[in-house]
Structures are given as structure tokens and as C-alpha cells.
Symmetry: C2
Subunit: 341 residues, 2 copies
């Protein structure tokens, strides 16, 4: 069968020009149609756990912009939710849950994971059936370090000081938590692949607050473990790993985790991105604020990335999630500019 999904061609190491494109958080609050569906749902988690609605919001940006990949609408915190951590999302406050301690970690029970996440897997199944053939379907999970930062603090923080502190104070319990999250993440990603995801992304959004040895232990190790476990069941699994803020550590990160492709945040210099691309496909890395700004700032940002990385395996994306204040017309402009190159 001829592969018609450009994103997968890139993940297989090919150079595709113009590069295929999708945007992190492409199904989100910047879209009026998303806001309408969101309003009709009860809580944010209800939206994640109701296949009809989750399919609808996943498809909205595909219909509007024709992105080359759809990403399952869900959240990285469905895993702690499956661990009964009382996860909830409050408007303007971000995610909240019960903070965990060492005793709580020892009692975590992941046996209900796939049962709890069955509606998400159902969403994946319906999506693959409902998407245009040329559109890749991406699943995802949070990386253990990033998920752990929320589990320990009980909420988002700017620098993950609570998790850093916990890791210093309770290294054994912290390792146990990362280990469990790695196992569950692998199980969850395998189930997504079995439900029809063409590729999966591991989000380590808080990798940038760590020193080198902590990055090695908390980010590289668990991510490597996830990837190895997924590949033991699905040897050809395509896996994108995104360690935001990891900067110069990305060279080792790529090599040591075995990720198929690595995501780059907008602070990664394009010269360094080229070096990284010599080792395999890269994804990124437009500053989401350029999409908000539009106009020249947007055009220049798009052009610079394509100029630097377009003659190698590149999936065009943002360097972080698109923000609610982005104008959808600017996204249209981005896609048109990219495809007119």
C-alpha cells in the first residue's frame, strides 16, 4: 500500500516539501466552533471522555485548515485521573488535583487504566475511521516527569519547585512514581496505537527546569523506558518526543530515548535544529506569539524555519501550543504560506 500520509513519510525519514503541518493544541479555545462544543459539554474532562464530542473537536481544525495530522483531543492528566487523583480543570486556574506524597505513591494502583480510558480509546478508533485518508492520526501522553510535577504540586507552577524539591527529599518514592507512570504511559500508548493512532507524541512540557543529571534521570530514562516498552509490542511504532526547554540536551535526548522524531520549542536556535535534524526528523518550532501577531512576524517566522529545516525531514509545527488569543485567520495564513512555498 502506498503511504499517503505525509507526516508519516517524514517520520520515516523522508524529506517532504512543502513540509506537512499540524499545530500543538490545534483543537482549542482559539476556534469559535471549539468554544461552542466546549460549552455544550459539562466539564473539560467530560469533553475528553465523551467520544462524540472529543471526535468533533479533534476534527474541527482538520475541516477548517486541512492540517496533515489530527491529534486526539484529550489531556496529559487523564493518566493521574485514571489513578483516582481527583483531577479537575477550573476556568482560569488550570488543572488541579490532590497533591500526592510518598505514602500516596506507594498506594497508587494503575490496574484500572485502560478501563478508565476506554472512551478515549473509542475516540481514537472513531477518529481513524472518520479522518481523510491523507491525514495522520496522532495519539499522545504526558511524559512521567511532567505528569509527576502536577501530581506532586496538585496544580501547575512556573518552575516545578515542588516536584524538584520532592525529588531531592524523597528520591526513592519519586523514582517509583516515574517508573509507574512510564509503565502506564507505555500501556496507554500501545492501546492508542492498537485503536488506530498512526504515531504518538510524548509531551515533556517541563523538561526545561531541570539540571543535566536530573534531566537524565527524570526525563531521558523514563521516556526511553516508554519507547522501549511500546516498541517491544509495536516494533515499528513512530514516536515523537517533545522535551520543552531541554535545549542543548536534545542531542543526547534523541539518541538515548530512541524517539523517531523530536519536537523543538521556539527557543531552540535553528542552527542547532539543523544539527539535530542530521540525526533524524524534527518537528517545530514557530513561536506561538508569532501566530497571535500575524503579518510580517508570522511570515518571517514561517520562512526562517522552512529555510533552515525544509531540506530535511521536518514536520512544521509551533514551538508550544497555540494560545486562545490567536486569530484563526492567522492560522489560515500560516498554512497557505507554507503550502505556497
Amino acid at each position: 500500500m502506498v503511504q499517503t500520509r505525509k507526516v508519516l513519510d517524514v517520520l520515516d525519514g523522508e524529506t517532504v516539501f512543502p513540509p506537512p503541518v499540524w499545530l500543538m493544541r490545534q483543537a482549542g479555545r482559539y476556534l469559535p466552533e471549539y468554544r461552542r462544543t466546549r460549552k455544550a459539554a459539562g466539564s473539560f474532562l467530560d469533553l475528553c471522555y465523551t467520544p462524540d464530542l472529543a471526535v468533533e473537536v479533534t476534527l474541527q481544525p482538520i475541516r477548517r485548515f486541512g492540517f496533515d495530522a489530527a491529534i486526539l483531543f484529550s489531556d496529559i492528566l487523564v493518566v493521574p485521573d485514571a489513578l483516582d487523583r481527583d483531577v479537575r480543570f477550573e476556568e482560569g486556574r488550570g488543572p488541579l488535583m490532590k497533591p500526592i506524597d510518598a505514602a500516596g505513591i506507594a498506594m497508587l494502583d494503575g490496574s484500572n487504566l485502560l478501563n478508565h480510558l476506554a472512551p478515549v480509546l473509542e475516540t481514537v478508533k472513531r477518529l481513524r475511521a472518520g479522518l481523510p485518508d491523507e491525514t495522520a492520526l496522532l495519539g499522545f501522553c504526558g511524559a512521567p516527569w511532567t505528569v509527576a510535577t502536577y501530581m506532586i504540586a496538585g496544580h501547575g507552577t512556573p518552575d516545578q519547585a515542588p516536584a524538584r524539591l520532592f525529588a531531592y527529599r524523597e528520591p526513592a518514592a519519586f523514582d517509583m512514581l516515574l517508573d509507574l507512570l512510564a509503565d502506564l504511559s507505555a500501556e496507554y500508548l500501545c492501546a492508542q496505537i492498537e485503536a488506530g493512532a498512526d504515531a504518538v507524541q510524548i509531551f515533556d512540557s517541563w523538561a526545561g527546569v531541570l539540571g543535566k543529571s536530573e534531566f537524565q534521570r527524570f526525563c531521558v530514562g523514563p521516556t526511553r523506558k516508554i519507547i522501549a516498552a511500546v516498541r517491544s509490542k509495536h516494533p515499528q511504532a513512530r514516536i515523537i518526543a517533545f522535551a520543552k526547554g531541554a535545549g542543548p540536551l536534545l542531542t543526547d535526548y534523541r539518541r538515548e530515548t530512541g524517539a523517531t522524531a523530536i519536537g523543538l520549542d521556539w527557543t531552540v536556535p535553528l542552527s542547532f535544529a539543523r544539527e539535530l535534524q542530521a540525526g533524524g526528523p524534527v518537528q517545530g518550532n514557530l513561536d506561538p506569539m508569532r501566530v497571535v501577531a500575524g503579518g510580517k512576524a508570522l511570515d518571517e517566522g514561517v520562512d526562517a524555519i522552512v529555510e533552515a529545516l525544509g531540506n530535511g525531514p521536518l514536520i512544521f509545527n509551533l514551538g508550544h501550543g497555540i494560545t486562545p488569543q490567536a486569530d484563526p485567520d492567522h492560522v489560515t495564513r500560516l498554512v497557505q504560506r507554507l503550502r505556497s512555498l
Copy 2:
């Protein structure tokens, strides 16, 4: 005259062992004596602008720990305060001020700067007279980019999206703001040096949220301008530049700004820190959470830094400010361990 201040010896390129030490935010809320003085003052800015009180809190950590340097107690936002931006500090909310726009930038008037900051300069004068001879006195200012992020957003944000967006939308106004802040910062640092500061530090706390070309324009350029302007009046001025989160860009940052020494945050790998030290003195970079944790995490962190950087010009410090929850006894342990090496 023989130089008795070890911090200055290091800034002059010498290797001093054990390395001299001070901690960012060493005069702060983790100290009960600070909290008492803070309570007696009115607002936080009252504390900054009352020489009796500012001298007292600056000296408190010197008395308690015998640090090798005292740093003027003040705040980077006294400069926008001198620009009449209605700066205030509210408990639990951090700094607040009137957000500025392009029209507001065009109307900024810095002519009152040194008049407004006269009490701070008086504090510097009294400090130099009151400190032990072996204790270096450091002045400081915020770097233009970091100060601008607060001026534009009107408050702190986790990723400085408002300032990044403003810079894309209003590049001319943004350059004008950085230019003005660079001029005023240079004037302010010169006045601190003339009042008795032995060295000064430029804090670019939000350098890490920028792409490479923005880092070059918003951080490197204005910091180079400040340093050149200070040196045109004080050719021997010792200037520490601290671009938090700049990672691999620090090599260019050091070379292009002409800083005497560079500060390193805790995410800078020690192997890279050694490379940077080949270019001149470095300062840093213990994770402040290790001070909160204490015990083995603290000892190992101290030892690793000294092992990697102790045989070159090093000022031992944290990789970011000490936090309110740090136990002062852990600071005592840090200093003792360092000095017993």
C-alpha cells in the same frame, strides 16, 4: 593597596579556593530577622527607599552567615517606578504596575531617575561604610528585556507572552523601550559604583523564553550597551551578567556583552559551565531547591559544583534566588561545607 575582597579577586580572574560565596536574594523572607524588619516597614518599596531599613536587611545575612559579598537590598523594578509606572508589590501577587503601550513608551521621561533613586544610592554609600572590609558590595539592576516584560504585561507571567507579542507587533516602540532602559540602567549602575558598589550585577531573569535572534536583539544588545556605557565612565567596572535560561547562548552572551563574569542558572550543565569558565569567571549555580531539601541533596550539589568549577575563577552562588521556605540552618551548612573543602 592589597585587595582583601575575595569576590573581587575572582572577578579579576583569579582562582580562589575555597570559592567565595553569596546567594541571590540572600536578604529575604527565609530569614526571621528580615520578616521582622519587613513588617516594620510600610510597603515593600518603602523598605527599598528607606536607607536605615534597606541597610539593615542587606547586613542581616552578612552578620548571620559571613557571606563574601553583600548585595544592595532593592528591586529591579525601581527603574520603572522612577518612570512613574505606579509600581506596587502585593502579598501573594508579586509586582504590579500600569501596563504600557507604544504611546506610553514614547512619553517615558527618565530625567528624574537619580533623584527618585537617591535613597537607594544613599543606602549603597552607608553600606560600603558599614560593611567589613573583606565583604564586597554589589549593586545591581534588571536587564532591559526583563524589566520591559513587567512594564508591558503589568505583572509577572510564566513565559512573557505579552512582551514577546508586543515585540512582534510593535518592534520600533519595543526597541525604543529597550534603548531607554539601557541608558537609564547604565546611569543607575554608574551612580551605584560612584556611591561605593565594588561590582554590579545585571539580572536578565527572563532571557530563557526567547528564540536566538530575539535573545540577540533584546538581551545581548541592550546588555552590551549598558556595559559599554558604564565602562566609558568607569573603565575598570566589574560587571556580572546573569541571563537566566540562556543555556547554550551563554558563550556568545559572554563574548558579545563584555561582562566580567557570567551568572549561571541551575540548569546549566557543569560540563558546559567549565567551557564557559575558560572564557572568564563564572558565578552559580546550585538549585535553590537543594537548599530547601538540605542534607545529602545539599551536600552533593555543593560538592559537584566545586569539583567541576573550583579550580578556576568561581563565585559560588545559587542558580536562582533563595526561596522563602529555605531553612537558614541549611544555608549555614552550605557555607560551612564550602569553607571546609
